[in-house]
């Protein structure tokens, strides 16, 4: 039954995608309103995590078309490729641009209205497709003191790989939905001050999003930090 179910789902999502694409080509107030219920511009210098500890402020690069790829190996091979200079170290600012395959793509700072970040609506906002797409997302977490035994917990639709301060720490793979705390890193140490979180999310088709938060030794969400993105405030 799975294939039939998947076929039905694919057709449903295709319809949704086409409708969204049509809406994107002819922006309307309703379309903008829909997007604004999920994501919006950054308007403050600092942001706190959500009550459940989810990080809602990110700088996201417009999607890179990479084709559909579900298995772990495919995702890992894809992220090994350098799409733009310093892709594993850059801390982008809102409006920064990079060139990928002769296409200029922009970084956009956003605040999510939800626990998760809807890449589907992000792509739609910038008139891009969220299908067969690679998204890069970066944020800066400021902690008041050095914190030990911290874990980064992520969920994504679909595969994703995550780095903290340049070190790969977590990944979830396959044609998957976003699940809270789906992939959890080993114990980490966050240094006092800014710490850079980076994710690469690959989506095949349909909706795409991710969520991320930091957990303490007991698995409880950490909230005692701020998120700030240089130059992102509008």
């Amino acid at each position: 039954m799975n294939k039939i179910r998947n076929l039905t789902l694919a057709l449903t999502l295709l319809g949704t995608s086409q409708a969204m694409a049509a809406a994107a080509g002819n922006p309307s107030a309703a379309h903008d309103a829909e997007i604004s219920t999920f994501i919006g511009p950054v308007t403050t210098a600092e942001a706190a995590p959500s009550p459940d500890g989810f990080i809602q402020r990110w700088v996201v690069l417009e999607p890179i078309n990479v084709g559909n790829q579900q298995p772990q190996d495919a995702t890992r091979q894809t992220i090994k490729k350098e799409f733009f200079p310093n892709q594993l170290t850059v801390v982008p600012r809102d409006g920064d641009k990079v060139k990928v395959n002769d296409q200029e793509l922009a970084w956009h700072a956003l605040d999510s209205r939800k626990y998760n970040v809807s890449l589907y609506h992000f792509a739609s906002q910038w008139k891009k497709s969220a299908s067969n797409a690679l998204f890069w997302a970066v944020t800066v977490v400021n902690v008041p003191k050095e914190m030990h035994n911290v874990r980064l917990a992520v969920g994504s639709n679909a595969s994703s790989v995550w780095w903290v301060n340049g070190e790969e720490v977590a990944g979830v793979y396959g044609d998957i939905q976003t699940v809270v705390d789906d992939g959890v890193s080993q114990r980490l140490t966050l240094k006092k001050g800014p710490n850079i979180l980076r994710g690469a999310i690959i989506n095949g088709s349909g909706g795409s999003d991710f969520c991320a938060r930091l957990l303490d030794e007991n698995g409880n969400p950490i909230k005692g930090f701020t998120v700030s993105i240089g130059g992102a405030t509008k």
Binding site: Q72, R151, A153, A170, V179, D182, G183, V184, L215, G219
Partner: protein
């Protein structure tokens, strides 16, 4: 046990893989009791046994007095030993090497209340009520009433010798009580002892809201009228379980000591054993110590399976259809039998060094099947030896890292970080603890964090993240 049916000299054979290790011949063992980091038990006619870890046993030191079917309980700063008759001796420690090791007479505790009293005052079992702190003693045999009297928890002596005991059962041997979730449980052994493989011993239970009964079984039959739900009977190569004694290991981990009347692998000798105690529908049942085998190791948290962090390969190929199978088409299959995945073939694509462990949807693939094997001469814990956990068909071994994470090593080398204590929990699932944490009261245990990750965190008996099932792969 029954007077007049004492076992003769017992034959001891070399230990095997199916029960405890070392010298374990005993009949009517006292509840296995920890003292000074060692475990002790005492059988009929003396016959003390001692163990450093609860797995390998050796002969111990005979106490001040010996007798039939003693029981031992630790209350406050003393260990009380009750001996059939019923009399009592006590000591501050069970460790003969300790300067505090000194048995003192406690006198007579119970017996015949009057001429013609329908009781056989043997097989005492002591019970400290965790709810009230009051100490009780049950006793009786295969003929006559089972009785309970209250003891002084400070002296171990009978609290009200002028008051008659309470009859709570009939024709039960080796009774004792335990408390669980608002009920008192009376456990006793029915059937015959001391006849080797012809011994019909088996352990049954009834429960009551009161320590003085009435104790009824799951069908409402009073144990004084023959009631009793089965806790453990004969099975495998072991015959005639008797003399239940509860061992509270930790929150969520209970075990019990007892003897088998006949161990076929030891020439039908009577031997000591320790099993997990489970609770199902409010009733205690015997669990199973971990057994060698190949398993899917499933997280109770979310049903995901422990696996190597490698790219899985679909069994028999990715496509399920289009072959020559009946009906053909999408669901036609290949028309042939798909063999189990060959680990030698798929592992050729795995990294050769350390590989992380993680959780994933179980897909019957080679990186998801684990072989659990007892490691000889590596010691053990209450009831079991330490185990290694390797990917089936390989020597790649699960290991704990110094920073309390998980990794698989290319080969098992016998290091302590590669040895695992696997205890069955009271709900039937298992906890998995590295050897280094084996004796900790709150050990680090294999933990499912998130839905795809594993680590070691402090065992929480109330959380599914520390519960694992070993399924047929």
């Amino acid at each position: 046990m029954k007077f007049g049916y004492r076992a003769a000299a017992l034959l001891w054979l070399a230990p095997c893989a199916f029960a405890l290790d070392g010298q374990i011949n005993i009949h009517d063992p006292a509840t296995v009791t920890e003292s000074g980091g060692k475990y002790y038990t005492y059988g009929t006619g003396g016959n003390p046994l001692v163990s450093d870890d609860g797995w390998t046993w050796r002969p111990g030191v005979t106490p001040l007095r010996t007798g039939a079917a003693p029981d031992v309980i630790h209350v406050g700063d003393r260990y009380f030993m009750y001996i059939s008759g019923v009399t009592m001796i006590s000591s501050k420690t069970l460790d003969p090497e300790s300067p505090d090791y000194k048995w003192e007479e406690g006198g007579k505790i119970a017996g015949y209340e009057s001429e013609g009293d329908f009781v056989n005052p043997i097989d005492p079992g002591a019970f400290l009520d965790p709810k009230t702190g009051r100490l009780w003693l049950t006793y009786g045999s295969y003929v006559g009433f089972t009785r309970v009297v209250e003891l002084d928890s400070k002296t171990g002596k009978r609290l009200h010798p002028d008051q008659p005991p309470t009859d709570i059962g009939l024709n039960l041997e080796a009774t004792t009580m335990i408390y669980h979730d608002g009920y008192y449980y009376l456990l006793g052994t029915r059937g015959s002892c001391c006849r080797g493989a012809d011994s019909g011993y088996h352990i049954r239970v009834g429960r009551s809201k009161s320590v003085t009964g009435p104790f009824v079984d799951n069908m409402g039959i009073d144990m004084i009228q023959g009631g009793g739900k089965l806790v453990i009977g004969s099975g495998g190569r072991l015959i005639g379980p008797g003399h239940f004694g509860l061992i509270n290991v930790a929150d969520g981990v209970q075990k019990f000591s007892f003897h088998w009347e006949a161990d076929m692998d030891r020439g039908n000798a009577s031997v000591l054993d320790i099993r997990p105690l489970l609770w199902k529908d409010g009733w205690p049942v015997a669990g199973e110590n971990m057994k060698d085998g190949t398993y899917e190791i499933e997280s109770v948290r979310n049903g995901s399976a422990l696996e190597l962090a490698v790219q899985g390969v679909p069994v028999g190929g990715a496509s399920g259809g289009g072959g020559g199978g009946r009906g053909r088409g999408l669901f036609g299959g290949t028309g042939g039998v798909i063999p189990a995945q060959d680990v030698a073939q798929v592992s050729a694509n795995w990294p050769t060094g350390d590989i992380a462990a993680r959780l994933a949807n179980y897909m019957v693939q080679a990186q998801q099947k684990w072989t659990v094997s007892a490691v000889p001469n590596a010691g053990g814990y209450l009831g079991s030896p330490y185990f290694k956990i390797t990917i089936a068909g390989t020597d790649r071994a699960l290991a704990a890292t110094p920073n309390a994470e998980l990794v698989t090593l290319p080969a098992f080398t016998g290091g302590p970080e590669q040895l695992w204590r696997i205890d069955q929990l009271t709900d039937g699932s298992y906890r998995i603890v590295p050897r280094a944490e084996s004796n900790a009261r709150e050990p680090l245990a294999l933990s499912a964090i998130g839905t795809r990750s594993v680590t070691l965190t402090k065992f929480d008996p109330n959380s599914d993240k520390h519960r694992w099932r070993f399924n047929n792969p």
